[in-house]
Symmetry: C2
Subunit: 400 residues, 2 copies
């Protein structure tokens, strides 16, 4: 029989994931029955909690706070060792002492989004009404819901105006939504590799991922925790698909080309003959160790629903009309998931709305993932934008 | 609980598919134990059969034969009603009376590829050694293997030189392979939306599809026919992924945008709110009715292995050195699966090898699928190329 290799079974990390959902290795803000989160779907979610990390020190006049918004499969562990994977924070290229988001100068906050699986209330959290994980009883959430929850956290921390809201991909959507929903609370916004609405192709890839998860019999209509299963195959396939979209054709060619894995000749089998196959399988396998399948459904759905202009009669510029926020929009030339044309459309709308905006289109072959990588031009631009905004905000050059 | 819709169960068409595998609704060329097909993996496949369709009449000096090579999920039913789906032939835009591949003038042959599931020997065919479907005991095949099998069919039909070999996508790979393996038997070749080797991104998407199939427990290590199951969910997910790659971002935007399906407001569920979701689910569901999951594994693998230059010390031009074949290479500007740069590389190599070649890059937003659609410029170019080649071949203007 021809050899076959498929996605490895995940180690038994479901317990760890489940523990993080209710009792995260993070600070937690609890919101009781009297402080519901009003969701776009019409549900008042209460009680709920938000898990968050902070770095640096809030200054005396609370004017140096930066909110970092994470992407689809990110979390609050921006610049510390991840409690589940043991890996470094996902944005240490950008966040840290002396970095663009200088923790010696700014107070950095990052919270797990509502619907996530690292300690903010989501489908793997315990539903207080049943004592079991929410599963698909969790209400469908939106990007504006995530931002509304973050605003409640920022209130709780006693911060009126954020010096900056920063995010890439889904995080960039949140940064833009912040500037639209709370323009007076956002001094500056740095939106990277994102758009104000999900395209048909974006929705198509997300639907593919959701169908891959739901096709896995171990998904059990979302009740896998109670039934002792985990849809690791389906989630792994979803991750493989998504991962292809995060890289450019050129980056895949440069990294892997048609090179074989530990062999010179094809095996004439379904083994991972090509390096790119091994790499993708690894991406699928390692992802399921740290991420919850239902959260993947909910967060992809939130992105699909996102469309800022839709709330303004289809005219994006109206969403930004009269804003005082200083914007910086960054895109990467080889990003085909959120192509640079989407960023140009944001910039046009901001200009039409009378906003202050700078725009950088960075030449790189690294695709959408570039925002997470050590791309010096990007890091310099982010740092420069924040320097300039800090001067305008009157922040001293050397922290609190 | 939040509503969920996933890929529909396929109707019980497995019997129909299995019947076509051994006893197709086509002409069949049988090759006995004394006429093995020598495969690149080292196996001699015997006995085996090739299912094929023909259209038009072979002329007296056997000089008007065109071989059409089908794409990954195509088959021999180019220009007749499909025996399983009841739909028209897949290339009736190009093949028929008065069309570019004029059945009043040319003798058109199309065979199901080795490894396919519509009557040429493949994993769903009965293995004579066991009396059961081959499944994963079927040897891994390559594009050169497919072409070698087609050459045996052409021999059987008593045809020395093909007037033209025509194909798009995987069919284009076969057309190019024909011109390299049997240059003296190919008077002209029309290679559309293809390349001489699969890129890392192409391999990545195929590996994703294979993992989706193999992740389905109903796949049963390829033994689903015997066990009365069918991995329709996994194959459906694989098809969804592939289908996204066949369309361009622009085409998806034009066809679907963010329009909702039979509703004005989001349902806040995992229903197919967006038209593009319904469309993709339908693509997944309808595909599994007509295609065999194991064939999908084998044929994607064959494409991944394809690399003409690899057999010529990495110098593609050497593969075409001294050829007398007349080539026409066609690409579509919005095809990101086989981008136009790949076609330019073929043309450069053909020029460097001293071949006669014309090249058309057709401006369209319809993506890779354009070669199957009614794109007048493409159809005109194909017709013009064949007219010119027919004159050079001395074919009378009006058929045999």
């Amino acid at each position: 029989m021809v050899n076959v290799q498929s996605i490895k079974d995940a180690p038994g990390l479901a317990d760890g994931r489940l523990r993080e959902a209710d009792h995260p290795s993070s600070q937690v803000a609890l919101f009781g029955p009297d402080q519901p989160l009003r969701l776009d779907c019409g549900v008042d979610l209460a009680p709920f909690q938000i898990a968050y990390q902070t770095y640096g020190t809030l200054n005396a006049d609370r004017s140096n706070a930066i909110l970092v918004c994470h992407a689809l499969t990110g979390d609050q562990h921006v610049a510390n060792i991840h409690p589940v994977t043991g890996k470094p924070g996902w944005w240490e290229t950008l966040v840290g002492p002396g970095r663009a988001l200088d923790t010696d100068r700014y107070f950095i906050i990052c919270s797990n989004v509502i619907g996530g699986c690292l300690g903010s209330t989501g489908p793997s959290s315990t539903n207080p009404a049943t004592g079991k994980p929410w599963g698909l009883d969790f209400p469908v959430i939106t990007i504006p819901d995530m931002v509304r929850a973050q605003a409640m956290l920022i209130d709780r921390l006693g911060i009126g105006t954020l010096f900056c809201v920063v995010g890439g991909s889904m995080g960039g959507m949140q940064a833009l939504q912040w500037s639209v929903a709370y323009p007076e609370r956002v001094f500056s916004a740095l939106a990277i590799a994102c758009s104000t609405r999900h395209s048909a192709q974006n929705i198509a890839f997300h639907e593919l991922g959701r169908q891959a998860v739901m096709a896995d019999p171990d998904w059990r209509q979302g009740r896998y925790f109670e039934q002792g299963t985990h849809p690791h195959r389906g989630l792994g396939v979803a991750r493989m698909a998504a991962h292809i979209t995060y890289l450019s054709d050129a980056a895949l060619h440069r990294k892997f080309g048609r090179r074989m894995q530990d062999r010179d000749e094809p095996t004439f089998s379904f083994d991972a003959d090509f390096q790119v196959e091994s790499y993708l399988r690894h991406q699928g396998s390692s992802f399921v160790e740290r991420f919850d399948a239902n959260s993947y459904l909910y967060l992809t759905r939130a992105m699909d629903y996102f469309d800022i202009a839709a709330d303004h009669d289809g005219v994006l510029a109206e969403a930004f009309r009269g804003t005082d926020t200083r914007f910086c929009v960054v895109s990467f030339t080889s990003d085909w998931l959120f192509p640079t044309t989407e960023s140009r459309a944001i910039v046009h709308a901001l200009n039409a709305g009378g906003a202050r905006v700078s725009f950088a289109e960075i030449e790189t072959d690294r695709g959408h993932d570039a925002f997470l990588l050590d791309v010096p031009e990007f890091l310099d631009i982010a740092g420069g934008f924040l320097q300039s905004a800090a001067a305008a905000r009157g922040l001293p050059a050397n922290g609190a």
